[in-house]
């Protein structure tokens, strides 16, 4: 009998339909892979399976019975365990305490630590992990912590285990071990849902594949019925939303910013050039190292190896302030965390990076500050143009425009955009695209990171594709979505 059946699951968030009438059938003793691009709805689907999100429409059936109450607790009780990318373990506690968290065995009102240790050790041994169950899990590797979560699922006698991109940060050896454990779970008649970006693993491991695209089920069937090129086409196959416009003028022939052999952490040996007047796309999957590269260029993190030159001279920023002084600015991915001081007014946010321009000997000139802020907010099309409003009270699109206004004020020569339109409405998106093009037309060197292929295709003159921290290839001319995706997934 089918273990889990979803019918017509729809989930809307403000401004976006994350899932649109999705069906899913999960059989016991099988591995069901869910694939799709960033933002296709995979995470939302997992949340609904975990009971962490309630669908706006549709039905969930478990073991032939309809499920009415949706909560994580209720799903756990049924035997559903979801292992997210950000593992849900208490770092300072040992594996045993984590495995039994919330269901601790007791003896005369006190924790039965012996039983916990024995049970945890047995479950861990089943999964081939030999660690002291009292050792704090923060001292374990990511792969080992994943196994601790799997052990928790075993102890709970889970009947369905869902893993969200479990192999994204593992080494080849660790992946092989995890794959073996998943096959063992399948042999124990447990249903496994496996979300992955690595199509080779999907094809090796999965019995069934479901492809999500823009919140809809684009394809579902037996894994051996689909080959890799078809899989990629199915994931990407959608219309390009943004019209591509030719550059206002050709990029300068010589590079302005050159990056050579840049390495830090898992970013390895990244090299590329950007010219004035050029928009370079930095493509790749989430976690491929795109933001990390931009942060190195912006002086936020320091490279372990590699060199950069700017306008022909050496460029070695030690802090963001150095980069800003040299004319390099970074539009961060997460505007609430990194872009704005939410409690401050628009005016104060806009002038924060260029306060020297409106100050004399350390004293701010209020009239000058106000004029500059009003002009910058108007240039970035902040609506309504009331610069005394607090940033916290603005919509996502307006917040992003305030960040834009702040960096426009610095008159930077190199602009690094990290997901410039994430979570903004279509109107603001068009406006931000216009601004990015205008910067390139004004002779700035521009780098755009985006998980949305249509956005990159519409904006970039050229794209460098990263995969697992390395440059996987380059696409020039009018960007072909298939070529970008093939490089990003490492299939080419």
């Amino acid at each position: 009998m089918t273990l889990l059946t979803l019918r017509g699951i729809t989930k809307r968030y403000p401004g976006v339909t994350a899932l649109d009438a999705v069906d899913l059938d999960v059989e016991p003793g099988t591995v069901h892979a869910i694939v799709g691009e960033n933002g296709a709805g995979k995470s939302t689907l997992l949340k609904i399976i975990a009971g962490a999100a309630t669908p706006d429409a549709g039905s969930v059936t478990w073991n032939g019975r309809p499920v009415t109450v949706q909560s994580p607790r209720e799903a756990l009780g049924r035997g559903v365990t979801v292992i997210y990318q950000e593992l849900a373990l208490v770092p300072a506690l040992g594996a045993a305490a984590n495995i039994y968290l919330g269901m601790e065995p007791r003896r005369r009102g006190l924790l039965d630590r012996g039983a916990m240790r024995a049970g945890a050790a047995a479950a861990l041994a089943d999964l081939g992990l030999l660690v002291d169950p009292d050792r704090p899990v923060q001292e374990l590797s990511v792969a080992q912590r994943q196994l601790v979560e799997l052990a928790r699922a075993l102890v709970r006698e889970a009947r369905l285990v869902a893993l969200d991109e479990p192999t994204a940060t593992l080494t080849a050896h660790e992946v092989a071990h995890l794959v073996a454990q998943i096959e063992w779970l399948r042999a124990k008649d447990i249903a496994v849902i496996f979300v992955s970006h690595r199509l080779d693993e999907v094809r090796r491991l999965a019995d069934t594949v479901t492809v999500l695209r823009d919140g809809r089920r684009a394809w579902s069937g037996a894994a051996h019925d689909i080959d890799e090129p078809t899989l990629i086409r199915t994931m990407v196959g959608r219309d390009v939303v943004f019209e591509r416009r030719p550059p206002g003028r050709p990029p300068a022939p010589e590079p302005f910013l050159s990056v050579r052999g840049l390495s830090r952490g898992w970013v390895r040996d990244v090299s590329f050039d950007v010219a004035r007047g050029e928009i370079l796309g930095l493509a790749g999957l989430v976690g491929s190292g795109r933001s990390e590269v931009a942060r190195l260029i912006a002086g936020i993190d320091r490279p372990e190896r590699g060199t950069m030159t700017l306008g022909g001279g050496p460029y070695r920023p030690r802090a963001p302030a150095d980069a800003i002084r040299a004319g390099v600015v970074y539009f961060p991915e997460d505007r609430k965390q990194q872009g704005l001081v939410l409690g401050m007014r628009i005016r104060e946010n806009v002038t924060l990076a260029a306060l020297r321009r409106v100050a004399r000997r350390g004293w701010i000139r209020p009239a000058a500050e106000r004029d500059v802020a009003v002009a910058a907010a108007a240039r970035a099309d902040v609506r309504p143009p009331d610069v005394e409003r607090r940033a916290a009270h603005l919509s996502g699109g307006n917040q992003q425009k305030v960040v834009l206004a702040k960096w426009l004020l610095t008159d930077a020569e190199v602009c690094l955009f990290d997901e410039p339109t994430r979570g903004v409405d279509i109107g603001a998106k068009t406006e931000i695209h216009r601004q990015i093009r205008a910067l390139a037309d004004a002779g700035k060197a521009v780098l755009v990171i985006s998980s949305e292929l249509p956005e990159l295709i519409a904006l970039a003159d050229r794209a460098v594709v990263l995969r697992e921290g390395r440059v996987q290839g380059q696409v020039t001319g009018v960007l072909a979505p298939e070529a970008l995706t093939a490089l990003a997934f490492g299939a080419a």
């Binding site: 912006a298 939410l342 701010i364 607090r390």
Partner: protein, 349 residues
């Protein structure tokens, strides 16, 4: 919620503490005999001045989402150093009585500022939690003050001291600053100089916070340290700056108190850091950072001072006064939560 109601609750959020202070004064004027007089007002100001100066420095630190537990001990250490310098016969002999008073005052100020720089550097460059750093410097400074004095206050020389006259003259010279009054026409008592110092510092602090680049950076660091750093704000320098200001305020308070009492005691300023934190919070500063003002610091310190004074005049036992002060702190925080909810969940209006 209508714009008018939003505007009104924003106004209440902003001036609520001032309203509470005015209301408290009105109630005290009716029920506390002798409250409503110039002499009593100047007494309150004198008593508030120490806490007011500490609260001002504390507010700078709290706006950056920090905390400074060392100010009470730094006040004590500075006071002891001031008294020791004042009564050093060699110093008086070299620079005279007035010179010794000036140098002693500068020593007190510098001691506080230096310790503040150390607090800030440990917090900013080593990333140690400011609660722990300043807890450590609080303990060290208190120990140092007791070590220097041997546990007994330094001050009025024993009869028969060979330098008796000069020492007393030097103590008197500093008393002219810490215990002096500025004569006012039509008033017998005049205005206490420490109160004037406090008011001048609050005005200066308000200008610094609202009109200078440094002040803007203080709010930015407390509001969102990461965004500030990415915007090129020198986050570490700002942190060192606010702890230096807080330390300097503690040093100055120590100078004034030693001058007023003609004595520097090793246990002076005990637990004053908690009064300063309480006053800063009552004055609207948020321990989460990004929110607070110099005038709020003054208002918070005045509210506590007026409450103590009024309860004194009515004849309420000191123990009840402590309970009342605690209740006021709770009320201030509840009021803060209430206005935030009324302002649509924003944490900053």
């Amino acid at each position: 919620m209508s714009p008018a109601r939003t505007a009104r609750s924003a106004w209440i959020a902003r001036y609520g503490v001032v309203l509470a202070l005015v209301a408290l004064c009105a109630v005290a004027a009716v029920f506390a005999p002798g409250f409503f007089s110039f002499a009593n007002a100047s007494t309150i100001l004198l008593h508030v001045s120490t806490n007011g100066i500490l609260t001002l420095g504390m507010t700078f630190v709290i706006i950056t989402a920090g905390i400074d537990l060392s100010v009470g001990s730094l006040l004590g250490l500075a006071g002891v150093l001031v008294a020791a310098a004042l009564t050093a016969p060699g110093l008086i002999g070299a620079v005279g009585v007035g010179g010794a008073a000036v140098i002693a005052a500068l020593i007190g100020l510098a001691a506080g500022a230096t310790a503040g720089v150390a607090n800030g550097a440990l917090t900013a460059f080593l990333g140690i939690n400011p609660f722990i750093v300043t807890l450590a410097t609080m303990t060290i400074a208190r120990g140092a003050a007791r070590l220097i004095t041997g546990g007994v206050p330094i001050g009025f020389p024993p009869i028969g001291d060979p330098a008796f006259t000069r020492k007393v003259a030097a103590l008197d010279a500093l008393h002219g600053f810490g215990g002096g009054r500025l004569a006012l026409p039509g008033s017998a008592s005049g205005l206490p100089i420490p109160a004037l110092v406090m008011l001048a510092l609050v005005a200066l602090g308000a200008l610094t916070l609202t009109r200078t680049r440094f002040g803007r950076y203080v709010y930015a660091v407390g509001g969102n340290e990461e965004a500030a750093r990415l915007s090129g704000v020198p986050v570490r320098a700002v942190k060192v700056g606010v702890y230096a200001i807080s330390g300097a305020c503690a040093g100055l308070a120590g100078v004034l108190l030693t001058g007023q009492l003609r004595s520097g005691g090793p246990d002076a300023g005990m637990l004053y850091e908690l009064n300063a934190i309480a006053a800063a919070v009552i004055g609207g500063a948020s321990l989460m950072g990004g929110v607070g003002s110099a005038w709020g610091a003054l208002t918070g310190a005045l509210l506590i001072g007026v409450l103590n004074n009024a309860l004194d005049l009515i004849g309420v036992q000191a123990f009840w006064q402590e309970i009342a002060k605690g209740a006021i702190i709770l009320l201030a925080v509840l009021f803060d939560v209430w206005t935030k909810q009324r302002n649509g969940g924003s944490a900053h209006d």
